[in-house]
Every structure is written in C-alpha cells, then in structure tokens.
C-alpha cells in the first residue's frame, strides 16, 4: 500500500505521555498505545494562517500598554525549519509568558507576585521568507507550582506553531541558558533525551543583542515535515 509518510524516527524527541514525576500526567495520559495513522490529505494539509492573521505591533510585548513593563528587556528570534532544514515561511508563531515577577495575567494564576499593568505577555508573529521570527519582550520570572514540595518552574516562554501541515503542529516551551532550576523541573525533564531537552534552551547571542537596549537570544525550532515523497510503507504491527 502506497502511503505518504513522514519518517517517525524524529518523534522520539518528544516526552512520553506518562511522565510520573510530572504528576498531572498520571490521569491525563492514555493507557493504550497510539495507533499508527497512515497519512492522507487530512494529515499532509493543515491550517494556513498567514499575513492576514497578524497585525502590526503584536510581536512587541513591551509596547502593548501605556507604559513599558518592568523587567529585563529581551529580543527572542530564531528560524523555524522542517526536518530537511528548509525554512518554514509565512507561518504563525504564538507566544505567552509570565511577567518579570513570574506572574501570569491568567485568572487562575494565584502566585502572590505582582501583576504589571504594562504587560500582558501574549504575542504573535509570522515567520519571514527565511523562516525567521522575532519577538521583543521581557525575561519572564520563575514561578512556583504545586507539583511537589517547593516546586518552581524555570523561566520559560510558551510557543505554539502550525508549520506546513496537520503533522507539524507543535506547542512547546523555550528556556534560558544556565537556569539553576533545570535539574528540578519535571516538565523540562519529561523529555528523556538530554540532547533533545537541551534543544529547548535558547542561546544568548551578542549579535542579536542591541547596545544599551536589550539582550538577544536565538531559538531555532524544527517542525515535523519533509519533502513529501511517496514511499512503500512497511507493515506496522
């Protein structure tokens, strides 16, 4: 049977559904194995949200209110690529984060750290023809959560991407180099492979840094997807 299949090897990078140290996974992981889905047009297509989905200013999280937010101003940029290393252009990137004090604007966030009237922490941008995105924001603070005693999340920015197809959908988190909380964070460590984990850590980049204004970080993102190539798919049990 001829099927259009992207290779599955790369999926090993993802964390397993059940990661007991992250206690909420215990009741939210399926108990039965996933069934391999042959790729049809349903999977190799996917939502297309291009230039009409982003408006000017949404990529600068420091200029969404009357004043500037408190915190360390940063630039986060990188390229969105597919597994062949080709850029993914005109693709929507959505980001959300806590403020510099480690507090989300979200109604359910109970952390007793101050909100910042000048910071929402939500941004959107579109990748350019080279697959590059760029946000201006402030560095988010670490925050506590109730997973275990004295649990703190390392500073992170949440990202959501679509890419070329239904198969390239990705929601992930970007971390900052040298965070002392890495060894203690069950979410970061839900990814079994150390090299894969480390791909979620942005790289400080002096060439992205703007003098007397903002520190720069590079964070490249690789989404599922290859040059579409029909192949004979061996039988999977």
């Amino acid at each position: 049977m001829t099927r259009l299949i992207y290779p599955l090897d790369g999926l090993k990078a993802h964390p397993p559904s059940l990661s007991p140290a992250y206690t909420s996974t215990v009741r939210r992981a399926p108990s039965k194995p996933l069934i391999l889905l042959p790729h049809s047009l349903t999977e190799v297509t996917g939502p297309v949200y291009g230039h009409d989905s982003v408006v000017a200013g949404e990529a600068d999280l420091t200029r969404q209110h009357a004043g500037e937010p408190l915190g360390e101003r940063i630039i986060v940029t990188g390229r969105v690529l597919d597994e062949d290393g080709r850029p993914v252009p005109d693709s929507l990137v959505e980001v959300w984060q806590a403020n510099a004090a480690g507090r989300y604007i979200h109604v359910k966030d109970q952390h007793p750290a101050p909100l910042d009237a000048n910071f929402t922490g939500a941004g959107r941008c579109l990748t350019d023809t080279d697959g590059r995105y760029r946000f201006v924001t402030v560095k988010p603070g670490a925050y506590p959560w109730r997973n275990h005693h004295n649990a703190w999340r390392p500073a992170h920015i949440h990202l959501s991407l679509f890419g070329h197809s239904f198969l390239s959908r990705l929601v992930t988190q970007m971390y900052f180099p040298g965070d002392p909380l890495f060894p203690f964070d069950p979410i970061f460590n839900s990814i079994p492979d150390e090299a894969a984990r480390n791909r979620l850590i942005a790289r400080f980049d002096l060439s992205v840094t703007e003098p007397e204004w903002a520190l720069g970080y590079q964070f490249d993102i690789v989404l599922r997807g290859r040059q579409a190539t029909p192949m004979e798919e061996p039988h999977h049990d």
Partner: protein, 198 residues
C-alpha cells in the same frame, strides 16, 4: 518505491501547553485580539450545518476543565484550505477551529459536515474531522478523529479498519438531535478514546 533519507534536523520536542494558555490561544476574555474560534460556519461554507458538543474526561472520568481542542476538516466537497489540496476549498472556508474546555470539561464546535477525502491510494474515507487535544498534564498533544455514526461508508473506512473493532465506537460522534452530535474524549477507562500516532 522511494527511500527517504534520514532527517538532517532533529525535532524540537513538545512541552505541555500548561494551565495558562487562554490569554493567548483563546484570549477573548482578556481583551486580546482573537483569530481562532469554534464557529467555522462564520466562514460561510456551503454544506450541512452541524454542531459537535463534547467533554474531555481524564482517566478517572473526571472532566478536564483546562484542555483545548482543535479541529481540522475538509469542506463539503472534501477539499482542504491548503495548497496541497487537489481542489480548492470553498471560498473563505479555512477548516480550522479551536475551543477551550469549560469548568465542566465541555467544548462545542459549529461547523459543516465534511465531504469525502480519499487516501493517496484513492480509497474513500468516511467523512471525518481531525482532532488535536492539548491540556495541562499532557506532555504532547494527542491526535484523534471524529467520524459520524450511522453512515454506510464507515465499514469501508481504511483508518477505522486499523482500529480494533471493539474500540471503533470511541471515534464516532453520535447524533442526539437534528444537526447536533455528541463526541466525548476519554483519556482512560473502558471506553478510552483511540488516539493516533501520525
């Protein structure tokens, strides 16, 4: 047969969407501009209108109040709003919806009955909607499909054929009134929903 070379770039791993996504991903209540909704009929596609209501339940059957459900579907003619689709989708129809679950774990989409999409072998698939599920406590999204109970062509669907017969019903939305379908997503229990690796 065409061999695929191994990928040259390693995937960026997934991380949970966490509990605090609403103010970006489904942000209406926060005064942030919203670009995705759960009402695909606003795009004015032709076809039979339908509403899909459901809940997301954890392994103990408890509602998950902080999940997000996304759907992806063809228009009434089986065309996707994507350049790889051999025929173009109905004018203005994008085929994508997003809905957070509420305090009862409930979600709902207003959309149209998708048309028939064939496999790359030319085999017709029964009309279906692709579903992506995100939640706090889920390290990576899960993928499933909504099919529509009662259709004659379910028996010949090549994807359902891969699912053990006793589990196929977990992929079927059930009509509870004219145009109203119910689809429950269960992360465990006797009727655990079938999820796919794609």
């Amino acid at each position: 047969m065409t061999e695929l070379l191994s990928p040259v770039h390693d995937l960026t791993p997934s991380q949970t969407v966490g509990p605090f996504f609403h103010f970006m991903l489904t942000p209406k209540a926060y005064g942030v501009r919203e670009i995705f909704t759960a009402d695909l009929t606003q795009e004015g596609p032709g076809g039979d209108r339908l509403r899909i209501e459901g809940r997301v339940l954890d392994a103990d059957g408890a509602p998950i109040p902080d999940a997000m459900v996304e759907i992806w579907q063809a228009d009434a003619n089986g065309a996707y709003a994507h350049p790889a689709s051999p025929k173009p989708a109905a004018n203005g129809f994008r085929g994508f919806g997003r809905c957070p679950t509420d305090a009862h774990g409930a979600f709902a989409f207003d959309t149209i009955m998708p048309g028939i999409v064939t496999t790359f072998d030319g085999a017709p698939q029964s009309p279906h909607i692709a579903v992506t599920l995100f939640a706090r406590g889920m390290t990576r999204h899960l993928v499933t499909r909504i099919y529509f109970a009662g259709r004659d062509d379910l028996a010949a669907d090549p994807v359902l054929a891969l699912v053990p017969p006793e589990r196929r019903s977990t992929l079927l939305a059930v009509a509870v009134a004219k145009g109203l379908w119910e689809f429950t997503i269960r992360l465990g229990g006797d009727a655990e929903t079938v999820f796919f690796e794609a």
